[in-house]
């Protein structure tokens, strides 16, 4: 069996992101996640650098690796040219491939992201799509967005967009042939495998946690509900 460290090292981004860390804390100083969470990118880098299997395993099972916001503010400051944000990406990949992500609350949310962004990508060709920014679940988007949402066709047309229509333009309908290509890219390059891995581990966890339907199969609607309302320790 490959060790955690081997799994991490297979990713080129670890080579790009980790030279040697001297623990100065210049990354944590400007890290938006460190300001909000009990989070310290410096200590993550130190853990990965230690190569300690047990510690790394604990790390990828923890909430910690999911706190980074991927802004990469750490990158331009590091005096050793490391990039903690990139190291995090690698940890997250391994966490999802090995199923460790379901062991933490923030990790489990990957299922929610897959269901929203992943579905958007494959079905529309966009990461964000107007119909999916539902005002009820996005109250912070405000009344203007609600008005846009309720009058999508007219508003997008007014500002010259091409919502859901053929041809080029903003928010145009991305043609079937393009979506097919996108799907094949995902199948060919491991995107689909990752989707499946997230879904399968989430289903197993849902079942284990008792979110099952009458036939004893995982009830993913119930599970989604659970994830959406799962207690936030931060509050």
């Amino acid at each position: 069996m490959r060790t955690m460290m081997q799994k991490l090292r297979e990713d080129v981004r670890l080579k790009e992101g980790l030279n040697a860390c001297m623990g100065c804390g210049i990354c944590t100083a400007v890290c938006p996640a460190a300001e909000y969470f009990e989070y310290d990118p410096r200590s993550i880098v130190v853990t990965v650098q230690s190569g300690n299997e047990e510690k790394i395993r604990k790390l990828i099972e923890s909430d910690t690796i999911w706190m980074c916001g991927q802004c990469m503010s750490c990158k331009p400051r590091c005096p050793r040219n490391n990039c903690p944000g990139l190291i995090i990406s690698v940890l997250r990949r391994v966490s999802q491939e090995t199923g460790a992500f379901v062991k933490s609350r923030l990790g489990r949310q990957q299922y929610l992201i897959l269901k929203t962004i992943g579905t958007n990508i494959l079905e529309t060709g966009y990461c964000v799509y107007p119909a999916s920014v539902v005002p009820e679940t996005h109250p912070e988007q405000g009344d203007v967005w609600k008005w846009i949402y309720d009058n999508k066709e007219a508003v997008y047309e007014r500002v010259g967009a091409n919502l859901d229509k053929e041809g080029p333009g903003a928010m145009r309908k991305i043609g079937r042939e393009n979506l097919d290509e996108l799907e094949r890219v995902f199948a060919e390059s491991g995107g689909q495998t990752l989707f499946t891995s997230i879904v399968e581990y989430s289903r197993a966890y849902a079942k284990e946690s008792g979110f099952v339907d009458a036939n004893g199969q995982p009830d993913m609607e119930k599970y989604t509900d659970f994830l959406l309302n799962e207690d936030n320790d931060e509050k």
Binding site: N19, M22, G23, C24, G25, I26, C27, T28, A29, V30, C31, A34, E35, D40, R42, S43, P76, R77, C78, P79, R80, N81
Partner: protein, 344 residues
């Protein structure tokens, strides 16, 4: 035969002068070639020395070579070429100056790191960000350190490792003297302004020298100087030219933000740019940090990779004043030894 031998010393700072004084004492003819108008080099810019706050003038006066018939001092001589010709060395500057010597000592010293390159610290942009060298200038003038608009600072922050141990600036080595300089200058600030809060932001405190740690203890105990372990990430300016710092309090693992009136950047030492010129026409080499490369760093530290050319002081690597003087004396002894061997 000694009095027939001529030694050229490039650089009239404390290392060059100390070497000259040993060599003239032994009876050699010596020429010091100084690129500036006056002798003394970088130490001219310093006010008080660590660890005991002696005046730098004391050292400058002590190294001043007594007028000696064997000593020739040439200022404004910016040597850019050292060539071996018929077993001797020919040193030339940009004008018509040519000096011939049997042996050469490099004592070209160091440059200060250009703090504007560390853009995120705002030197040259925010008026209240100064360097350790700027602080010495203020101290030397006998004035008190004030903010740009002349007010007494309520808080001063010293920032360690500026231009040292930093791949971003290309200087991955430690400049060694900045830690203790930070402690010394912090104390000096509290001596100027007893009410002022003084902070040091550091990664490691590398207080390697004799009596340095005692100064650290004194700084904590008697001057209530505070030390925060975390490398400074950025400086920005708030209204009224007050500064804002961001670092991690690494011992707590939390980001920290602090307002301060003045930031002092402890800038590191870099090799002189003209070292490259000086290597061009001979077998001299530079090391990975652009300082002169020693034949070996243990028992031939003062020997360069060109036989007959010797190294003294901080052109080898960052050094404190006393190390520089010791290095100069040992370079001089090595010159003596090598010329005597030649003689035989």
């Amino acid at each position: 035969m000694i009095d027939k031998k001529h030694i050229a010393i490039i650089g009239g700072g404390i290392a060059g002068q100390e070497a000259a004084s040993v060599l003239t004492g032994l009876g050699y003819k010596v020429t010091i070639l100084e690129k500036n108008e006056r002798m003394g080099g970088m130490l001219n810019k310093w006010s008080k020395l660590f660890p005991d706050f002696s005046s730098s003038q004391l050292v400058l006066d002590a190294v001043k070579v007594a007028t000696d018939k064997n000593l020739n001092v040439i200022c404004n001589a910016d040597i850019f070429s050292v060539q071996k010709e018929n077993g001797r060395f020919k040193l030339s500057d940009n004008s018509s100056l040519d000096v011939y010597a049997d042996a050469v000592i490099m004592s070209t010293g160091y440059n200060l790191f250009d703090a504007t390159l560390k853009e995120e610290y705002g030197y040259g942009v925010f008026e209240n960000v100064i360097t350790s060298a700027d602080f010495e200038k203020v101290h030397k003038s006998g004035e008190k350190l004030t903010t740009a608009d002349g007010k007494a600072p309520r808080r001063v922050a010293f920032i360690h490792c500026v231009g040292s141990r930093d791949a971003k600036t290309g200087n991955t080595y430690c400049s060694k003297v900045c830690c203790i300089t930070g402690v010394k200058q912090a104390i000096e600030v509290t001596q100027m302004w007893p009410e002022c809060e003084v902070f040091n932001f550091y990664m490691d405190l590398r207080l390697y020298g004799s009596k340095y740690d005692a100064l650290y203890l004194e700084a904590q105990k008697h001057h209530k100087i505070q030390f925060i372990r975390g490398r400074l990430s950025e400086v920005s300016e708030r209204q009224g030219k007050e500064l804002q710092l961001k670092a991690e309090d690494t011992l707590q693992g939390r980001p920290l933000r602090m307002k301060t009136d003045i930031v002092v950047l402890l800038i590191g030492m870099e090799a002189c740019k003209q070292n490259e010129d000086l290597c061009r026409d001979n077998a001299l080499e530079l090391d990975e940090n652009r300082f002169f490369k020693s034949k070996n760093i243990y028992n031939h530290r003062n020997s360069s990779t060109q036989s007959g050319v010797f190294l003294a002081g901080s052109c080898i690597c960052p050094m404190s004043v006393n190390e520089s003087l010791e290095s100069a004396r040992s370079a001089a002894m090595l010159v003596d030894k090598s010329l005597k061997v030649q003689e035989r």
